[in-house]
Symmetry: D2
Subunit: 355 residues, 4 copies
């Protein structure tokens, strides 16, 4: 299949949920993908109107009208569907798409948790059918990249889990930190909550404010624990705090763990650089330097830094991503690239926008 598509024979994709932030970000990024053409932008509301009406930044860039949600129509128009739909919607839509012969990259949380019961405990609605859970490949690219080749259903990781797992897995896999001691203090910009309106996204409530929410209750917890358990070879339970930063984009995950030895910052830098060798989108900072969210703004990078503390025997790991890109649309495209056997950075060569 890698040979099938190219600059002169572009692959056709459809985007469901095009009027959410994940959807418009896919549209932005796919503008520069050399092998892909957006065949259909789809929204359950507003079908029949130009997408640029609700998103004037797309004026003269995307001139298509929005299509309605219809699996058969998608199968006619496209080869691959990005489902940028909410949890609880994907679980119903994706099976239809699969059955219609489409390949699907799902950005919701619905196919990430392998155990349906665990899903239902945290998500509070019914899990998808087991056979689709089994079919779904968890697409944390730098960790599970190989598995997504030729997959027909990729479950794109959550924003918090992406930043957190890329920051923890090398150390857990190496046995350098005690998995039982992991504490994750995570912070996100507001776009992560989507375009829906509520008091918690009201400008006057968020601006000049910093607040915690869903402490120890966030639905990304089982996703993180599932992947860490795989790396550790034993069950892992984490303490996980989510907090809202008065900014639009960006996640920082600040992670704490007890070290199993007297490792230095330099040791961690070397371990991680080896682990991520050849993976362009993870950038490990030099010892003594920690990344800031703005340093990855608008791009697909995940930047990581360390502070190993001999005084306390703990290491602090800091990992940042743009939640809209590496934490959603960008990683979804990276997964498409890997699925198709293309170079993983096709269409993702964005330099961070700074300042």
């Amino acid at each position: 299949m890698p040979g099938e598509y190219g600059e002169t024979n572009k692959m056709k994709v459809a985007i469901v949920g095009s009027t959410g932030y994940g959807g418009v970000e896919l549209i932005r990024l796919l503008q520069s993908h050399p092998y892909v053409e957006i065949a259909s932008v789809i929204s359950s509301s507003n079908a029949g109107t130009p997408i640029a009406e609700g998103f004037p930044h797309l004026t003269n860039i995307v001139v298509q009208d929005l299509d309605g949600v219809n699996a058969a129509e998608m199968a006619e128009k496209a080869d691959v569907v990005f489902a940028a739909t909410p949890s609880g919607v994907s679980s119903k839509l994706v099976p239809d798409l699969i059955e219609a012969g489409l390949k699907v990259i799902d950005l919701s949380g619905d196919f990430r948790i392998k155990d349906g019961g665990t899903y239902e405990t945290w998500y509070k609605h019914p899990a998808p059918e087991q056979k689709y859970l089994e079919k779904a490949v968890y697409g944390l690219c730098e960790i599970s990249g190989g598995n997504v080749i030729d997959a027909s259903l990729i479950s794109n990781p959550g924003c918090y889990p992406t930043a957190t797992l890329l920051g923890l897995i090398p150390a857990v896999s190496a046995g350098w930190i005690d998995p039982k001691s992991i504490i994750i203090d995570a912070k996100s910009g507001v776009s992560g909550a989507g375009r829906g309106t509520s008091l918690t996204s009201h400008y006057a409530e968020i601006n000049e404010n910093f607040k915690a929410y869903k402490v120890n209750k966030h639905q990304h917890i089982p996703e993180i624990e599932q992947a860490l358990a795989q790396a550790a070879g034993e069950p892992v339970t984490v303490t996980f705090t989510t907090q809202l930063v008065p900014m639009t984009r960006g996640i920082m995950s600040t992670m704490y763990a007890q070290m199993n030895g007297a490792y230095s910052d330099e040791d961690f830098v070397e371990l991680y650089r080896q682990y991520y060798e050849g993976r362009n989108f993870v950038r490990v900072r030099n010892a003594g330097i920690w990344p800031a969210t703005k340093e990855v703004f608008g791009s697909n990078y995940c930047d990581i830094g360390f502070a190993a503390d001999a005084r306390t025997g703990r290491v602090t790991i800091i990992s940042v991503i743009d939640n809209m890109v590496k934490g959603a649309a960008g990683q979804a495209i990276q997964n498409l690239n890997l699925m198709m056997g293309w170079e993983e950075n096709l269409g993702l060569g964005y330099t961070p926008v700074y300042p």
Copy 2:
């Protein structure tokens, strides 16, 4: 002395460092103090010019010219001096003021650490003379309130330590958490860094950015450890991360510790409400609710909430203050009130500005 001063016989205070953020915040708050009159606003630069020239928000409110730094002059004009001067400056200035017979409330870090050697390790300049360190009373009002009565030198706590210690000490004192397990993930608005200009306070570098700094190296660490050790009755070493939030005011300290028992949120709420009974400025949120920084903006409150997690055996404690008020100028005035035997909330009855 409580009888000496009042609405008709106001106490005269001088403010050194009036053109810094701590200084102008003292000026703002003291406008509504019924027993205090600002006799002199002092700055090492700009003496002889009206303070409203550099701070137009004070137009028609403070019409005095700035005075220069002169201990004898201060002693003539005032009874009490607020030293809102940087670390390294206070250590030299304060002894002169004391010797001139003034009472001093010092907002710098110079007199907080009882052990001169520890001070020098973290602050990287010489400690004040030992006799002044001994004379200085650490003024974390709700903890050490009684000690400051009639003190002649009060060392006003740091912003991070205030939020952190008010959040930790009741649990540490009660033996509910393991002091060895304490991890503090702290976040601050930019005003905490003062009015000096540098890349780290440049708008375009901070806006839409979240960044960590001085990880495990912040000079507030020994101040926190000193107070926790006192509460725990044993040495305490903490992991401490400081992070910059794109906002002007506000600190959140998110604190993690291993619980020594199966305590619930409600248990913590009750413990803390008892501990802080009668202390108006600490507000303990109901179980399941966590405070946000905007809920204390512009006011002297410290609001605290809890998330005790049976899954992990850890508790997450969240404490917020306005770094300029409870974290600096407000607590300094509260210390003045306590020192004078006045009601502690005189001049501090500000409702938070919301939104």
Copy 3:
């Protein structure tokens, strides 16, 4: 009546619309009013629940439950009602309150426009009965202060009109500028749009964005034109642009007009200082200095500056207020003070919060 109320015999007020931003700002400011007690906080929704549940910043400050909207009950509990209700609601509620014998200060636009037809053209719903329009006194304090004494219905000016009219009326009255040439470029923080949720107050849509809305269509236009016509002695038509600034509070009105003579900045400064002599809340900047919105944040000031340009024969007048205070709740309290014959700054002695 001035003798009736005082610190020991506080006047009782009710606030309708207590869960909107105007309402909570009234609550904040009235905390420090020496002669006033809040007898009832009222909301059409949430009656029976504590107001601090929705506004945790009021924890331990306002412990009352919300009351429902009931004119008879208000008349029993209170002497004066602040109606912080939306346009279209006040027009129906206020007559009932008046008939129940209450004095009312209405913060909506419903009683500002003397001509019902003009009201309906701009507001798109029915005007109040003519007799209430006639009873209502327009309370732009520094201009119409005298008229509100003993009024039973005060119509509190709009936020944009307050900044704009305080900036224009002295020059128009003096005949220094041509009323036909007036262009007003106004900017506001987001709180002006209230606490209702919509895309236009969504954080991710507003942050790092500057946008115009309702250009030449804003309902504050007839209010501005009505007052300017009175000052000019002839009908006035203005060009008026409203724009949203990514901040919570603050309005700047930048105003342009052709000068009728060769006036200098200094001339304007002197004219305005004379005009506003004795009125504490208008502060006229020195020549060559223009006010910024942050210089009045949280306070009842309106600050004004000038740039008279000999090259073009035009003057630029810049006026700033905090839209929540001088543009709403603060001026409403100022109106109460004037109505009662009290000093106009009672309960309004807030120094701007800076930074």
Copy 4:
């Protein structure tokens, strides 16, 4: 020459001022230019150190060390130089580069004003030699595009003039508005002031603040007047206000003028669409819709909307750009493309980053 360079024979460029915001934005954008290679990144300070040290967002993207400022060296390494240097520096540097045989695109204000005396009045330092002023082509691409072909010195327009002139020139050229009546109320994000540190770029002073500066004194006034005079065929004098918005990027120019006829919004839309036909980077909004700065964030677009007001006979024109892109680095690259005879949007196909 168009044939000379291409994907396999990239043109080599040098960037002087690489550590300023204009410089790093050139670096960001040029990453995706198919025909261009950055041969040298140059800074008067920090030569010899990796640029990614000061700009970690460039980690692994630009691995070069900074070069010092040396015309001969540049001539060896590069064909074209972007001078992203401050006014007063370019005037001295550019002649040396020209004499060394380089083509130069200068982003400063030094070569924009054809009359040296006018330059010195507004810029307060000596103008460049007259022969270089004459050689310089003013590169407002959509207006003067043809002139820059084969130019050896292009003077890249200022940020405010770009937004303003693209918004005014079609109407002035068509005689639809009276040039003598033009009033420009301009607003900019903070990045426009550069990376230098000062109180006016201090986060705590800018955040939650809106302020005017250099009212009627901004050095972009003569640049605007020079171009408008050319379009009008007579001298033009404008009223021009510059204001700082608490955001990083974005300029809105809100422009007012007396109409010479009874034109409607639709008339203006049609006039402007015809004027800019075939010019991809100017997008004219439909009648009744006005652009917001975020709708062009990170991109080279200039979006324009209208409000023609029959009540007042005036039109309000609203024009937005990203000051870093269309207002600086983007237009500079567009000028390079035009100079080389390439398609004007090469390397500039960035969809705005939204939200």
